[in-house]
């Protein structure tokens, strides 16, 4: 829209017509204080904090709902405005308990800040305050009504942002209160967004409550280790303990969005069953031994098996860093001389990369999901399995009126904003998509998001069908965990090396390794394949690097306690291919980062695989893996850099690999979720069976 010229405090400003005064002022560095106004959410105009004086208007006007107009003359600091703000704050404080010393929000409370800056020094209110007891709505959400300033931010973020609509308002006037959807409790995503967005301490978190104060913590921005969406979570750390997670500074691809896992499920770190010492099988039983003994034993056994020409199988992880994955495949292929390396597969990324070979910009970023004109979702319940991608798509529909198409087995939350929804069994989804040809062509500028129902040759068919529509299209192939994508990019596949180059020799896939009765050694790093399968080889010497004594670790001959993603540095690559940096938040007793373990084993076996330090290995990745030559400053400053792993045809696998998503829900996270007390209590609470 054309720019209009207006005057604020005697300064002539310009902004596109229709811009809200509060936004236009903010861009020019003029602050209009606000509580209820929140960028990206519907306008509410409930708090009256943003009143400004507009010449020729009979009364003060709310800056948060006022579009700028040509010739408008505004005063934001006139005596009338200053007085109005003082009065508004005094009014907000009439029934406010002033609990600041015990209030969790103290120190980062918007009401405190506003009163400090704009408020009156004294209160004239001497009447008895209306007290309401605090309520617990769910394992993570508590509500203290007297502190609420009725800004409706929580109501709007839950409805508009999450699509859950779990909060509303009951009663009127001084007795108005925020109320959960089930009267006395919440049945919702338990995402904590309402707590985070609350400008005051009315909504507090069951995990963080009364633990400490904001200024007492160190705030470490790192990447969530649960699903593949790669949200940035800022961990509040004190005494080597993670106390809370949020992303209040909105840095990172996810802005302030976090689901229950990124915000609360860091508690597996301190779980009582966390392995703190290496275990070695002695007389059939796993007993605790020292690191030096365990490492020496593994190095010796590996060397013996290698010298005897034995058969090694190596299974990598979907949670470990790119550096670790890269080093592990190098260890396997060069160090142990085995081609048998794989990891659990949850999406057919190689097939997609092959199908879009020769195209540029065919892979969507998480930002593309927010900006596309249309999004086609195939075979995934995104709100459950990929909460951040779902949030992006919902925001796209809300802010850009994007057309959403869902082709899924059952109903999904995205149906609510969908232009068309189609129910189809996994095998029929491709055909169902083809039935949407006309709608898709009309919508234009498309992002296609597909899950494991489209794999193998179906991926190529899908891409050529979309090509035939003649509209620009980008793709996201869904994978499960924090670094599932990075595991493939780094070459944890039997026929693919780093950067999807053909491996020198094609090895066995994960299921083939498990089924091979002649396997001499199995090395499992951060994965739990024996949860659902059996290891055929009885003689195999099994080494497992894990956080917990999983089913796989129980079969191991040596278990090496590994550090989690929150305890190490490195990079991970999210579902869209955006590489981001992990920052070490805490140190734990006993465990070592997988990369350190690899380095020590390599030394023990006298292998020359290069220095096992994250920065060194990342440098090697940058120079040797196609598409990972990402700008270092972006990564180093906590940004996300898109990787373009390959542009060309990919070697075909000997056999199509078994690809299946774990289909985690919002409240589960593979083996890791079992060790999160928060996820467990949320599941067991009333509403745990809630089906969004």
């Amino acid at each position: 829209m054309a720019d209009v010229t207006f005057t604020v405090n005697g300064k002539s400003l310009q902004a596109p017509a229709g811009t809200l005064l509060i936004d236009a002022c903010k861009r020019s560095g003029i602050e209009i204080p606000a509580f209820c106004y929140y960028e990206g959410l519907a306008l509410q105009a409930a708090c009256r904090m943003c009143l400004v004086e507009v010449e020729k208007a009979p009364k003060l006007l709310a800056g948060c709902t006022l579009p700028v107009a040509e010739g408008m003359v505004v005063h934001t600091e006139s005596p009338a405005v200053v007085k109005a703000r003082k009065t508004t704050l005094e009014f907000l404080l009439t029934n406010h308990p002033l609990d600041c010393p015990v209030c969790d929000k103290g120190g980062e409370c918007e009401l405190q800040d506003m009163v400090f800056r704009y408020g009156a020094g004294e209160s004239r209110f001497t009447e008895i305050k209306h007290h309401v007891d605090e309520k617990q709505w769910s394992p993570v959400v508590y509500f203290d009504a007297p502190r609420c300033i009725l800004c409706y931010r929580c109501v709007r973020i839950c409805d508009e942002g999450l699509g859950v609509k779990a909060l509303g308002v009951t009663n009127r006037g001084a007795y108005a209160e925020i109320t959960p959807n089930k009267g006395d409790h919440l049945e919702c995503d338990e995402c904590g967004s309402c707590i985070d967005i609350c400008p005051v301490g009315a909504l507090t978190s069951g995990i963080y409550r009364y633990q400490t104060r904001p200024w007492e913590m160190e705030h470490v921005g790192t990447i969530c280790t649960h699903c593949s969406n790669g949200c940035k979570t800022t961990l509040g750390v004190k005494n080597d303990q993670i106390i809370r997670g949020n992303n209040r500074d909105r840095s990172g691809i996810n802005g302030e969005f976090l689901c229950v896992k990124g915000r609360y499920a860091f508690d597996f770190v301190g779980h009582a069953e966390r392995l703190q010492s290496p275990l070695m099988r002695v007389d059939g039983k796993l007993v605790e031994v020292s690191w030096s003994k365990a490492l020496a034993h593994v190095a010796q056994k590996f060397s013996e098996i290698k010298a005897a020409g034995g058969k090694f199988g190596v299974i990598g992880s979907e949670h470990t860093t790119n550096e670790e994955n890269f080093y592990l495949q190098k260890f396997a292929r060069q160090g142990l001389g085995t081609p048998h390396i794989d990891h659990r597969r949850s999406g057919d990324v190689p097939a997609l990369l092959d199908a879009v070979s020769g195209k540029s910009g065919a892979l969507a970023t998480t930002a593309d999901l927010y900006n596309a004109k249309a999004v086609l979702i195939i075979g995934s319940d995104l709100s459950q399995q990929h909460p951040f991608l779902a949030y992006q798509i919902r925001s796209d529909a809300r802010h850009h009126q994007a057309k959403i198409f869902t082709v899924t087995e059952g109903p999904v939350r995205e149906d609510k904003v969908a232009a068309k929804k189609v129910r189809a069994a996994a095998g029929e989804q491709l055909a169902a998509v083809m039935g949407l040809a006309e709608d898709l062509r009309a919508a234009g500028d498309l992002v296609v998001v597909f899950g494991d129902s489209i794999q193998g040759s179906a991926v190529g068919e899908l891409v050529s069908f979309i090509d035939s529509l003649g509209v620009p299209a980008k793709y996201v192939c869904l994978v499960d965990y924090a670094n599932s994508r990075g595991a493939l990019d780094m070459g944890l596949a039997p026929h693919l090396g780093p950067g999807y180059h053909a491996a020198a020799q094609t090895g066995m896939s994960l299921s083939e390794m498990l089924a091979d009765a002649t396997l001499d050694a199995l090395w499992v790093v951060g994965s739990n394949p024996l949860k659902s399968a059996k290891l055929a080889s009885e003689k195999a010497f099994v080494v497992v690097q894990e956080l917990f004594l999983t089913e796989t670790a129980q079969r191991a001959d040596v278990v090496l306690p590994a550090a989690s993603a929150y305890e190490k540095s490195g990079t991970v690559t999210n579902v869209c291919g955006e590489a981001q940096r992990l920052r070490k938040a805490v140190s734990v007793m006993g465990a070592k980062a997988d990369l350190d373990i690899f380095g020590l084993l390599a030394r023990g076996m006298r292998l020359d695989l290069g220095q096992a330090a994250p920065d060194k290995v990342f440098e090697e990745i940058r120079t040797s893996v196609h598409g990972y030559n990402v700008p270092l400053p972006v990564i180093a400053t906590g940004g996300a850099a898109m990787t373009a792993p390959v542009n060309g045809r990919l070697p075909a696998a000997a056999q199509p690999p078994a690809i299946q998503s774990a289909r985690d829900s919002l409240f589960t996270s593979g083996s890791l979720g079992r060790y999160s007390k928060v996820l467990k209590t949320v599941l067991e609470a009333p509403g745990g069976l809630y089906k969004p």
Binding site: P101, Y210, Q211, T212, R213, W215, E216, G270, A272, K677
Partner: protein, 167 residues
Amino acid sequence: MASKLGTVISSATEIAKGLGITLREMMQPALTEDYPDVAPSFQERYRGKHVLRRDENGLEKCVGCFLCAAACPVECIYIEAAENTELVRISGGERYAKVYNIDYSRCIFCGYCVEACPTDAITHGHGFELASYDVSTLIQRKEMMLEAAKPGAKAPVIAPVAAGGHH
């Protein structure tokens, strides 16, 4: 000659004056104190070792707000907070200080913590005998600073917590 005599007289007068003051002061009660034989007395606002106060019900006044620690210029106050529950109620507010340490090897007795406290929980007492040969003993725990509950005050509710709670 007269001048010599005059000098003698004026000197004698001066000495008599001086001794007169001495004599007068000798009759006054002594200002110095006989520490360590007799316990010293303090001005009421003397800033000695801290005392953590209790309220009239015997509950700890400290609500674990960390403001004293934030105000302390030498960062010698260490606090870990926890939540009061129905079974374990330590303070009057929602939160209490599970751990409250002051490191007297660093405290400069400035009184900022006392100023900062919103509940008057931390005060300066008159304790001053803090010298030690072992610097580690200069870190005092909450129990060492907490005043005793007044006779008749209800004791804080402390019920045994089921083991293995956390994690």
